[in-house]
């Protein structure tokens, strides 16, 4: 057995007189509990938004439908998008999974600022409730789409208090995201365990670091845009209205300057999950690890310069510039695809539920990515902008990331969270139903968009020929809905009849799998030596270390010289860390 690095001895000698029950839940600053709160809250938002989606799809299953009024329909798609994007996809990743997993992956006892972390959650929860309260006020929830374009979101065209609640909700959750971003960046930079150099960080942590930096770039802009919108609504400013010399298109510029980095804030964490899960179930290190880190940085850098590709049809943006930068994002994204394929190449693939969800992600994201490249070309965007083609595209991308990869992460880390296993058979049912439903829902929407069906319409005429594809899409949506019953039953069964999981059921690579399941207060009793980006693997497989030299084309069995290489790098540790 290798000698273990002892850590946090002082912290563990300190006795914890923690409250229990509700008081613990309310007052805890433990990143694991806050992360769990985030995950549960964001999953509630996900299910609420999913139910809204089913209502929307039910409305569209027949032409000239009168199930919902136009006002209800407009409010529901606004809240569906707002909940999914602001309250689920982002918070689930950076508030939930990252909060729980990132300190464990870097070998830290907690986040850098535990109380700020707690504040962040309570801001998020209150922001979410504030936004949902819109349903209870006169006139119903905000009905101007999740983007809230001015001047439709002005007090003239959207009167009432629901839009104000929506704006306040965005501002509160925006601050919570900023605080979490600060915490993630600081934790990654300052609380890494000895030996955990930057190029030994797990890819999930790398991606969360880059995501957090993007949060710090993007969310303040959103909050500022919302403050200005609020001022326009109530203080008589004319920032977004032509009446007083304001510029409506300014809102779009500000919003998308947030909104496009936001797309990658919603994507990078999930790329990180996939990049952690695929190597584990391929029994190999991540192929092209450093290339992937630089690809992530490149995506983040480019993402700050592509916002106006949402505005190609405004007629007031520099088309070639935004088109070229948007197209270029395909390159680092392509690198990631080849990294994932290269990782599976010549591996020993085991198709557990998390791995299946990652495979599902690959296909979904491939299709969504290719149509995204098409939309980066302004003439093609002219033909498809604001149609169901775009709806299908971004659902394939966001569903691919937040749902496929998000639930891959949930299944993957579930044994770590609770120390018990979910049931594989039900996980597979979830995957296959989800996959059938997913493709059945969104492929028809591409065709509908090409045929000219606009997005955000509450009804369509009967003789325009869109009915059968809409019916197919609605059936698909219901299959997706049913698939989540298997998730809920799975969690319930594993709760009632626990099967102990052990600390490392997957033979995984990264430090969180060295902690107990669930991890103890302040996470680690001991840490293994950290000499690569997969210290737990190295600890358990000293005879199968990563090939760090050569290009991998050699035929010789590298085991012998690998061990040598690892020993060689051992002495370099102190230098690296300094």
């Amino acid at each position: 057995m290798t000698v273990l690095a002892e850590r946090h001895v002082a912290e563990h000698e300190h006795e914890h007189h923690e409250p229990t029950g509700l008081l613990k839940w309310l007052t805890s600053t433990d990143h694991k509990l806050i992360g769990m709160n985030y995950m549960v809250t964001s999953l509630v938002m996900f299910f609420l938004a999913g139910i809204m989606a089913l209502l929307l799809r039910t409305q569209l299953a027949s032409p000239n439908s009168s199930l919902l009024t136009f006002q209800q329909y407009n409010a529901l798609f606004t809240m569906h998008g707002s909940l999914m994007l602001y309250l689920f996809a982002g918070p689930f990743a950076f508030g939930g999974l990252a909060n729980y997993i990132l300190p464990l992956q870097v070998g830290a006892p907690d986040m850098a600022f535990p109380r700020l972390n707690a504040l962040s959650y309570w801001l998020y929860l209150s922001g979410s409730i504030t936004m949902l309260l819109g349903f209870l006020v006169a006139g119903g929830a905000a009905a101007y789409g999740w983007v809230a374009y001015a001047p439709l979101s002005s007090v003239q065209f959207s009167p009432g208090s629901a839009p104000d609640l929506w704006i306040l909700g965005i501002a509160l959750t925006g601050f919570s995201a900023i605080f979490t971003g600060v915490n993630l960046v600081t934790t990654t930079f300052y609380l890494r365990a000895p030996g955990m150099t930057m190029f030994r960080l797990p890819i999930f942590t790398w991606n969360m670091l880059v995501t957090a930096i993007l949060i710090l770039i993007a969310f303040p802009i959103l909050t500022a845009a919302m403050v200005l919108l609020f001022a326009d609504r109530h203080f008589g400013t004319h920032i977004y209205t032509t009446a007083g010399g304001g510029v409506p298109v300014l809102y779009q510029n500000l919003f998308w300057f947030f909104g496009h980095p936001e797309v990658y804030i919603l994507a990078l964490p999930y790329f990180g999950i996939v990049s952690d899960v695929i190597p584990v179930f391929s029994k190999k290190p991540l192929f092209g690890y450093k290339g992937m880190v630089f690809a992530t940085m490149a995506i983040a850098a480019l993402s700050t310069g592509v916002w106006a590709h949402h505005m190609f049809t405004t007629g007031v943006v520099l088309l070639p510039f935004f088109s070229l930068l948007s197209l270029l994002i395909a390159v680092p994204t392509g690198i990631k695809f080849f990294n994932w394929i290269g990782t599976m190449w010549r591996g020993q693939l085991v198709f557990t539920t998390p791995m299946l969800f990652c495979i599902g992600f690959l296909f979904a994201f491939l299709m969504g990515g290719l149509t995204g490249v098409m939309l980066a070309s302004p003439p093609i965007d002219f033909a498809t902008h604001d149609t169901y083609f775009v709806v299908a595209h971004f659902h394939q991308v966001l569903f691919g990331t937040a749902v496929y990869a998000g639930f891959a992460g949930l299944y993957y880390w579930y044994p770590k969270f609770f120390g018990r296993m979910y049931r594989e058979s039900m996980g597979k049912w979830h995957f296959w139903l989800l996959t059938i439903g997913f493709w059945l829902t969104f492929i028809p929407q591409y065709v509908l968009g090409l045929w000219g069906m606009p997005r955000r319409v509450a009804s369509y005429p009967s003789d325009v020929g869109w009915t059968s594809l809409n019916v197919a899409s609605t059936i698909g949506a219901y299959i997706i809905g049913i698939s989540f019953v298997f998730l809920l039953v799975n969690l319930w069964v594993s709760w009632r009849k626990p099967i102990p999981a052990g600390d490392n059921p997957w033979d995984a690579h990264t430090l969180e799998w060295f902690a107990a399941s669930p991890p103890v207060h302040h996470n680690f009793e001991k840490l293994p030596p950290i000499r690569s980006e997969r210290p737990v693997w190295d600890f358990h497989h000293p005879d199968a270390l990563t090939i760090t030299h050569g290009n991998g084309t050699g035929r010789s069995n590298g085991h012998g010289h690998l061990a040598d290489a690892a020993v060689g790098s051992d002495t370099a540790d102190s230098g690296d860390k300094a």
Partner: protein, 295 residues
């Protein structure tokens, strides 16, 4: 209003002067030579899109179809690699796989090849968008289109303004006749243009943002307060083209239909003069929102 127009035109000129004239001509010649070879003109499958009933829309279609073909090739290759990995490398034994991590030549390849592909697509994109956005100095007709909650107003030469509220008045132009099949093609107010000739559209809105979108023209453009958009449509064939607002514009967004009627030029001119003769009564009875724009 006039200053805004000037600003948006200056923007357009700046963007056009990005590449030098010479380079653009060389690129244009290259693309023009490559397009028929690569795309095979009209024999392309439509890939569920429209071939484009305007000159501009057809240019878009060629780009769309070429891009779809490229996307299918890339998609099939990548999907096949994923599928091969799943099938070939599923766990068959307890053997430890080789723990390789880097392959520099391969990694450089999968950076360089996509960069080249993206640049090629970018070249075609710039060429096509310059075609689509080009504005003729001598259009046969100029129409000032105003979108509003919820309808469309068309201001033709000779003080003729036709306004239709889509939620009330399905077809104020009244020339759908037997050509309207299905009836959905004639929903909303009709914009009448001569077929085979270029129509200059000036597009504005005085309330919220609307989207001027004609599916079969493969074209959409925002009608926005504070921005005047100018573009050309050259409808190639006589016909009636269903159209709809695409940008969420409030409660009745779903009903904000309109349509474009392309008449043979002689018939168009007869229609225009007959409408212009009756214009005094029409414009007196409707107070259209464009009057505010002119102020």
């Amino acid at each position: 209003m006039a200053s805004v127009v000037a600003v948006s035109r200056r923007d357009a000129e700046t963007s056009r002067s990005f590449a030098s004239r010479k380079r653009r001509r060389a690129l244009g010649a290259l693309v023009a030579a490559a397009l028929p070879i690569v795309l095979g003109g009209c024999q392309l499958p439509t890939f569920y899109g429209y071939r484009g009933s305007t000159k501009q829309g057809h240019d878009e279609f060629l780009l769309y179809a070429g891009t779809v073909i490229a996307a299918i090739v890339v998609g099939v290759i990548v999907a096949a690699l994923i599928a091969w990995s799943i099938v070939r490398y599923r766990k068959r034994s307890e053997d430890m796989p080789r723990q390789f991590q880097y392959h520099i030549p391969l990694e450089i390849t999968y950076i360089v090849v996509p960069v080249i592909m993206v640049l090629i697509l970018f070249g075609f994109t710039v060429f096509t968008e310059n075609q689509v956005d080009a504005v003729s100095p001598t259009p046969a007709l100029k129409v000032h289109v105003t979108a509003f909650q919820w309808g469309w107003s068309y201001q033709y030469p000779g003080n003729l303004t036709v306004t239709g509220v889509t939620t009330e008045d399905p077809d104020p132009v009244g020339i759908n006749g037997a050509q309207c099949a299905p009836a959905v093609d004639c929903l909303g107010p009709g914009l009448v243009v001569p077929a085979g000739e270029t129509t200059r559209i000036t597009l504005v809105s005085n309330d919220v943002i609307h989207g001027f979108y004609v599916p079969q023209f493969n074209f959409s453009r925002y009608a926005q307060p504070g921005v005047t958009n100018v573009f050309d449509l050259t409808v190639q064939h006589v016909g009636i083209y269903r159209a709809q607002c695409t940008q969420l514009c409030g409660l009745y967004h779903s009903l904000m239909f309109f349509h474009v009627v392309a008449l043979p030029p002689s018939q168009f001119r007869a229609w225009l003069s007959s409408q212009q003769r009756a214009a005094t009564t029409v414009s007196a009875s409707i107070s259209h929102p464009t009057t505010k724009a002119a102020a």
